[in-house]
Amino acid sequence: MESISDIPQPRSLTGVFNELLIRPLAFLDRARNGGQASPFRMIAVSTLCYALYGAAAGFFQGGDQILVAALKAPMIILFTLLLCLPSLYVFSAVAGAEWTRRSFLAVLAGFAGTLALVLLALLPINWLFSSSSRHLSSATIIQFFLWLIALGLAWRFLGKGLQATGARGGMVLWLLLFCVVSLQAATVLRPVLSRKPGGAVFVYGKKSFLEHFGDTFREGETAR
């Protein structure tokens, strides 16, 4: 029987992403066995997918907000990943994971890649709802649910990857942390979906994501 480490590295980038779907652990396995894996390339391409997803969300308002949302979506996700990196390492190590630099990077890139794939798959749905929604509050709720779906499916890779490195139990809490941090990152980098005509691309002012959501739901009825 052919073991995962015997499977050759896919030549094209689409091959790498396809492999993530059908053999999610092959990428990690190659990295752990000293084979060729390109985590940074995967993160770079994932960033492009996040931008496309953001652009689709920007159709809620249309115009130059499409570009603004395309810029901000990768910023939100990458900033969240950066902030949650130390906790992923320490939590999983406490849960029993045995990390090397290569295997940690591979799991991280695999998670980012799976997230990108799911977001790309959700892109048409995102575009449909963003283009047709009338109220900012309903568009925000839809974005939130799509994000939860994407995170839940990306867990498929992360959970398996962590298990393969020896981590046992409790790591789903890290995903919850990642979700909460991403909501705050989106608040700091607001406005993402809609802004007033001539309004600033970034609004400065300190705010918690709960307050921001509350404000969004109060103002949302007249936003579009």
């Binding site: 130390p86 906790s87 320490v90 406490v94 849960a95 990152a185 918690s208 307050e211």
Partner: protein, 236 residues
């Protein structure tokens, strides 16, 4: 390479925990391990403490960097005698040194987890409105966030404790009973020690101090039962 890294406090908790646990179970080098765990615990808690106080400025950050390790050290010191006695009474005849290392192991693991959350906590502190009477909601949200993170990491740390206890030669039922008693003691005493050493997040009404004048006037459980629960009940 690995030997050099082992000199970093906490490294063995993340990467050589099996070897560490084997030594603890065998009762070898207990004092050395205890000291190293104390250092790891204090460093981890100091990093998170420094971040915890940043919402109120550098002074409270400095105080918290001292006080959070103190909370953990005092909690361990106050519970270790009881933990050893309870273990022996429940049928787990461990040496005092083994109990000391095991209980500190849980708190050290929790501290490392807290330190790894420092970037996240700092991000939330920096995104919150500046302290003042109008920032009461922000204060309450930060308070809840930090309580959840500290409590969660404390529980996470007991995972390391449970992994260590599973290696002990004793019936699972006894191990579970001892583990439950130890964790309950940590939670009860830790909550009160933290309450006595308040403020950590900092009040929006009162000035920053190292310790409140009424630090030992009333305990956290009185506060919960005479203040918080009646307040919640009035909402229902």
């Amino acid at each position: 390479m690995i030997d050099e890294r082992v000199a970093i406090p906490g490294w063995e908790l993340l990467h050589r925990v099996d070897a560490l646990l084997a030594e603890v179970v065998a009762g070898r080098s207990l004092m050395r391990h205890w000291v190293r765990l104390c250092v790891a615990m204090s460093l981890g808690a100091a990093i998170y403490g420094a971040v915890l106080g940043t919402w109120h400025g550098a002074q409270l950050a400095f105080y918290d960097a001292l006080k959070l390790p103190l909370v953990l050290l005092l909690t361990s010191a106050l519970t270790v005698g009881f933990a050893w006695t309870a273990a022996v009474v429940l049928g787990l005849p461990l040496r005092f040194g083994q109990v000391a290392v095991l209980t500190f192991l849980a708190l050290a693991a929790g501290s490392l987890m807290l330190a790894s959350l420092a970037p996240v906590a700092l991000f939330f502190n920096l995104s919150a409105p500046t302290p003042g009477p109008s920032a009461r909601t922000a204060h309450n949200l930060l308070y809840l966030l930090h309580t959840a993170l500290v409590g969660g990491c404390g529980l996470g740390g007991t995972v390391a404790l449970w992994k260590a206890m599973r290696r002990l030669d004793a019936p699972l039922r006894t191990l579970r009973a001892v583990y439950a008693v130890w964790v309950a003691a940590f939670a009860l005493v830790g909550g009160e020690v933290a309450w006595a050493l308040r403020p950590f997040v900092g009040s929006v009404y009162m000035p920053v101090v190292f310790l409140r004048p009424d630090a030992l006037d009333g305990n956290v459980y009185e506060f919960i039962f005479t203040d918080i629960l009646p307040h919640l009940a009035s909402w229902l």
